[in-house]
Subunit: 514 residues, 2 copies
């Protein structure tokens, strides 16, 4: 560590390792990067090279960054730049003076190495790792190593509990007046499965508390937060969220803006490009967010199907048992509903199209999607039965009543108003049907490729973009009849989706309608 | 994949996903980065975000890069930039037009995932992974995941053999006229252990072939290539190296410039910041480089000590056995010499100081470092005994004779001349002794912290910088007597080394001289 000593000060009196900031505006996602000139005096005297980890200090704030070198094209003598992530954390302004020194060693890396070598991690070790991760001490390489070392079956239940507790401890935790706080979660992978927007108003209309935080899309065409945002603002801070829940008993807000389980957000940013399924990390991710949200009772919707995230009933049973064990250890009662994951739910895939489906159900329109409605009622009924006042076996009937008598719609409108005002979903500027190449009966639907096409069409960045799916399994179609309609805001995006779809076989598989 | 279709062309006739290059001069080490404006039309239509992996094509060449977003400060409308690594591979010039599309899926990632989940990898799987790594398909996250999944004891011997073969196969392999080609390797961690510069001339002077490729420092104050470069050029290409070996029987060149085992270079670039010791990867790294260099017989110097890389004789035995087993499988005879790794070898630590030690031994100066001389003779003698003409037990005497009669010096001078001309080591501009804080006997020396101080003093970037170590274990010193002298080219670097040393306890540990 460089504690400025007399020898560390130049004759001009300024610390010899100071540089003047220039704003470069380079977005590197979450990674904090310091851009220095390769011929900079600090690089020479401190022995920095590309990929060195350095401590950057500015007016009382500091962070650890990775060094990238640039030439005289971008920086003058004595200047440095920062990636936007680092710029924001340091609250930097052009012309500010930063002080650069070697990053202190990261003590928790010894735990990371121990895990890589096959040792078990206890509560303290997990907490130290999560604290360093949230503090931005880990480089992307370190994060990838941690995620890899924990993937597969490398975390036993006690380690998953330790990881979950650590993720809760390094973030903030909401508290609510009632002793029972409801929540739901869907283990992803099923396009259009937007039950949350129905479950929350039903449960809140029944007088229970359900402060729901949802995520935006990570790899899917829409996250629940994206779909809700079509209808009402979701980027509420903690105080605003609390006001909504106090008034209405429930909310549907974007979890990241509330700042729950920040460690999870960092880990997900690495898990996604690595595409590593880790049961332990999935359990810790889900339950740490629920605990941080202050939830005590959670229903988990677990769709199972050949192209869903969970692909067999054995895998569902194992994952469900782990969720219940870890939930028990951290004080959350978990109920798991294994559901059909063989095809999209509802019709819309993409924020606006999914929002349209939800509104049709709440408004009891005759052609509303019955599969989405049935799933939402099943989940809501299961949550209602957590209440001592709802006898086992009566939850579904109660949920149905609340939906059918308009109470759920009324509550949803009230929640939207409380979150900042309700609006109607937009319509896409361009639409094009995808026609059946033959006549027959729909035998199989590839959720993943449908989702990919919806993303190529622009979802979720363009909320109106996506896919309107018309041919659930069992539908009899004629040659040339539309299987689904692609919605896009730009002709180029429509073309992209069709370039992709035209190169695929059997996104919707047809068999002879014997 | 984006095959340009009629719909994929704008009305102006240019592919809609083309951008004009601007040179930004950003060095990101090996990582290939495409800098795009976040409001760029391609980002919108293709759905790219920060961290997306894209295929960048330019005039018949292409590569896969990671997307970073920038603002209008750096790029105009329709412009893109590249990291220097990508710029060089594409042989780009400012104003060139690139075409950007989604990167094709990386098939070998399924093998990587299998390894993460605990499955064994066979020859084909390892070869596919190494081929994709050398082709630059893996992001740093993927590389970190691979290194982590193989760390600890996660590769069995057959997998290490498969990895070694794969690393050989994806690079080029040198061939030499003789059927026996000698080589040596030191399993790192011991400052100053520069035996190669003595072993090569002794073995070559005996008429054997020893085409030695060495590395530059990775985490140490000097690699063998850095030390040799003080005395002669080392960045020879393959043809130049072959001419030197044909003429002199031996050489000491920088391995990276010859392009052997390129996969190893990529893996090391990730292993280093992760600081993960992996026995399997160490074995594959060492032996793939030897096989690629065309070697058939290798002596491995394995220093064992509390602050060396190998810390116990059990660990040495296990690693030695693995090296021999894998060597046997790929047709290399391996002999392991377990040596003392408790303290630095010779006196100098840093390129020029180590070169000075080597020259003193070759020139048979009376005060030359006897420990370095003895180790070099032991290794050279062991290599000589690989020859059918050198009976077992006579190698050491033969090596000693070749050194003592001046043949080794003569050969070394000839090799230097053949590599481009010999020169004398430089002297540092600034020196400062580090004094004993008490009287006593030297009981223990911390190799790692001495090496760190030598690096802070500027080694190896400043070849004359480093540490001259004066107090081997057992030396009796008075209070205030120098334990070592720090050499630096700049006063600031001298101060850095002392800032660090003054904050340490017992880099050289003294005990009562009873």
């Amino acid at each position: 560590m460089t504690i400025p000593s007399p020898a560390a000060t130049s004759h001009a009196g300024a610390p010899r390792n100071s540089l003047t900031l220039r704003h470069l505006g380079i977005h590197t996602y979450r990674e904090k990067v310091l851009f220095m000139r390769s011929d900079c005096h600090i690089c020479r005297s401190v022995g920095l090279t590309v990929q060195s980890r350095v401590l950057v200090a500015l007016a009382g704030r500091s962070l650890v960054a990775t060094v990238n070198m640039v030439g005289a094209e971008l920086l003058g003598n004595g200047e440095a730049g920062l990636s936007e992530a680092a710029w924001d954390v340091l609250e930097a302004r052009p012309g500010d003076t930063i002080v650069v020194s070697h990053a202190p060693p990261i003590e928790s890396l010894s735990h990371l190495r121990a895990k890589v070598y096959g040792h078990r991690l206890d509560d303290d070790a997990m907490r130290e790792i999560m604290a360093d991760i949230v503090a931005g001490q880990y480089s992307d390489l370190h994060l990838a190593a941690f995620v890899t070392a924990c993937a597969g079956d490398r975390l036993d239940t006690s380690e998953v509990v330790a990881l979950t507790r650590a993720m809760i401890d390094v973030g903030t935790r909401l508290t609510w007046p009632p002793s029972t706080v409801m929540d739901k979660h869907c283990v992803g992978g099923l396009p259009g499965n937007r039950t949350t927007l129905l479950v929350v108003p039903i449960v809140a209309a029944a007088g229970l508390t359900i402060p729901k935080t949802s995520s935006r899309a990570i790899t899917s065409p829409a996250g629940t937060a994206d779909t809700m945002e079509v209808l009402a603002p979701v980027a509420l801070d903690r105080e605003a969220m609390q006001r909504v829940v106090e008034r209405e008993g429930g909310c549907i807000v974007w979890g990241a803006s509330v700042g729950l389980s920040p460690a999870d957000d960092v880990l997900i940013s690495v898990e996604r490009p690595l595409d590593l399924d880790s049961e332990g990390q999935l359990v810790a991710s889900v339950l740490s967010k629920k605990a941080a949200a202050g939830s005590t009772h959670v229903v988990i919707d677990m769709p199972v199907g050949p192209t869903a995230k969970v692909r067999s009933s054995e895998a569902a049973a194992r994952l469900g048992a782990e969720l219940q064990k870890v939930g028990h250890a951290i004080g959350i009662e978990v109920r798991v509903l294994v559901t059909d994951g063989s095809q999209p739910v509802g019709r819309g895939i993409g924020p606006a199209l999914e929002a349209r489906d939800v509104l049709a159900i709440l408004r009891r329109e005759p052609d509303a999607a019955s599969d989405l409605r049935a799933r939402a009622l099943q989940i809501a009924g299961s949550i209602l039965e957590f209440s001592a006042e709802v006898p086992p076996g009566t939850g579904l009937a109660l949920a149905t009543r609340i939906l059918d008598d308009g109470s759920a719609l009324e509550k949803f409108v009230a929640i939207c108003a409380s979150q900042g005002g309700m609006r109607e979903p937009p319509h896409a500027a361009h639409r094009r049907p995808f026609a059946a190449a033959r006549s027959g009966r729909v035998a199989q639907v590839d959720n993943r490729r449908l989702a990919r096409a919806a993303k190529l069409a622009g979802a979720p960045q363009a909320p109106a973009a996506g896919i309107d799916f018309l041919a659930p399994i069992g539908t009899i179609v004629e040659h040339g009849q539309p299987l689904f309609v692609v919605h896009a805001q730009a002709p180029g995006e429509l073309a992209y989706a069709f370039d992709y779809l035209d190169a695929q076989q059997d996104v919707v598989k047809l068999e002879d309608a014997a």
